[in-house]
Assembly symmetry: C2
Homo-oligomer: 303 residues x 2
Amino acid sequence: MTEERFLELVSRYLRQAPPAVRTAEEDCAVLEGGRVYRLFTADALVEGVHFRSRYFPARALGWKLAAVNLSDLAAMGGRPEGALLILGLPRPPEPPWIEDFYGGLIQALSTYGADLYGGDTVRSPVLWAGLFLFGEASRPVFRRGGRAGDLIFVSRPLGGAAAALRYLESGHDPPEPLRRCLLFPEPEIELGRLLAEEGLATAMMDLSDGLLLDLYRLCRASRVGAALEEIPIAEGATEKDALSGGEDYALLFTVPPEKARHLPRLIPERRLYRIGHLLPETGTLLYRGKPISPRGFDHFEST
Amino acid sequence: MTEERFLELVSRYLRQAPPAVRTAEEDCAVLEGGRVYRLFTADALVEGVHFRSRYFPARALGWKLAAVNLSDLAAMGGRPEGALLILGLPRPPEPPWIEDFYGGLIQALSTYGADLYGGDTVRSPVLWAGLFLFGEASRPVFRRGGRAGDLIFVSRPLGGAAAALRYLESGHDPPEPLRRCLLFPEPEIELGRLLAEEGLATAMMDLSDGLLLDLYRLCRASRVGAALEEIPIAEGATEKDALSGGEDYALLFTVPPEKARHLPRLIPERRLYRIGHLLPETGTLLYRGKPISPRGFDHFEST
């Protein structure tokens, strides 16, 4: 079974009526909450699947666990508030591991305005960690709002994490900037919030499974297609890394052409990368004028 | 390292200032939330540690995952609202497994007023499932409010889950009522809420790690001791099962003697079991007049 089919099957069990605004096929669950919307998300990392302790220090594991969840909130224009941690441990951890792991987790959470409020620790034959993150948004952006003609942007060069992984899996040290892409990704909380609150982004998501697959998902939700032109590639990464490597945690968003001129003043010191535009044909994906398949990291098919 | 020591170490990383009201050493994190308090909890079940698929059907796993989390909310007098699920799966699940697992999960959640809003599914060498549950309480009850002289109650006979586990681990079928104690425990949402809202319980928690260990924790939080007299034992269970077997998910609560006469009209058809009273000596634990140690299921020491 593919991940897409699995998600389709389980989405039947999600509440889709109020107070739920959107649950399935988004980066966060969005619930009504009075004057603001309440956002909830959850993500887990498993040893041997998402990381190896051999090259993934405990501090990086803590940071990244927070970052991938924060990135889901960023993708909807949310403000993080709090988190709960569940931890599966093969043995009682040593105090230095606890200090590093929790230190990295808290550093990432507090950098973006969230606190840890509790959780659960259990024994497990394999090390894994799951985080639940909640926050709010005054004007959440969904994947489904893109319209033909909208310009497509990403928030930074892509492929760095995939390139770093190749180094580490083959026993080599990646250059430091690539290593940081994989081990200490930066969630785009500020940018996501500004794009949402200023009403600039029509559709938005974060890039976790590779640009092509994630863009395909955005297009399907918005019932449009996409034509990609130039894409920004992280130094040391390949074009393939940038197209389908995954784990970028950059923002992918669409902006109507007439509003694109407002982008440069959002965060003046940040460059944003225009990579193409949306097409009226649902599901069509073009790269430099030619059709391309939305291949990327699929959690089940890749095994 | 013992579980207690581990919890002590990690509690340094939990936010203890507003909006947090209580985080460490409670069944839920309690946050300010305007007119009501917001409650958050998370619990996980791991194959080979908390259950074996051989005798634990997918429907029971889904139900129990919801029930153990709901029980944490019950322990503070909370009303459940919503949940997010994290699932670690060794292989893509078959549709019947999905139907059973999610069916059991949703049945338990909806029975007690909660809905599933989202989550994450990841590959994992071992099957595990974590749930994040949120809700609210108008008047949460903590573990720390017990006073010397208060009467101690449990909400139902104890030891059934431990007795059922013994049958199943030795390859035998337990009698149906015992089997239900282990596989389909009932969280005490209604009773917990009434005890809290009527202002009857001074301290409350749910029984997950065995009466003695959990009562010891309640006593420590309340800075009192306890004298146990008769305890109710589930039919087919032993006295040891009831004292330290664990996984009962009954409520343990304390009530001032002058208020105890109001208990029978809370839920007229329910019998509640008075098992002893609190003592002024912090940490003292007596059973039928003799000192007894707070041994019970410790997640780390028991390995």
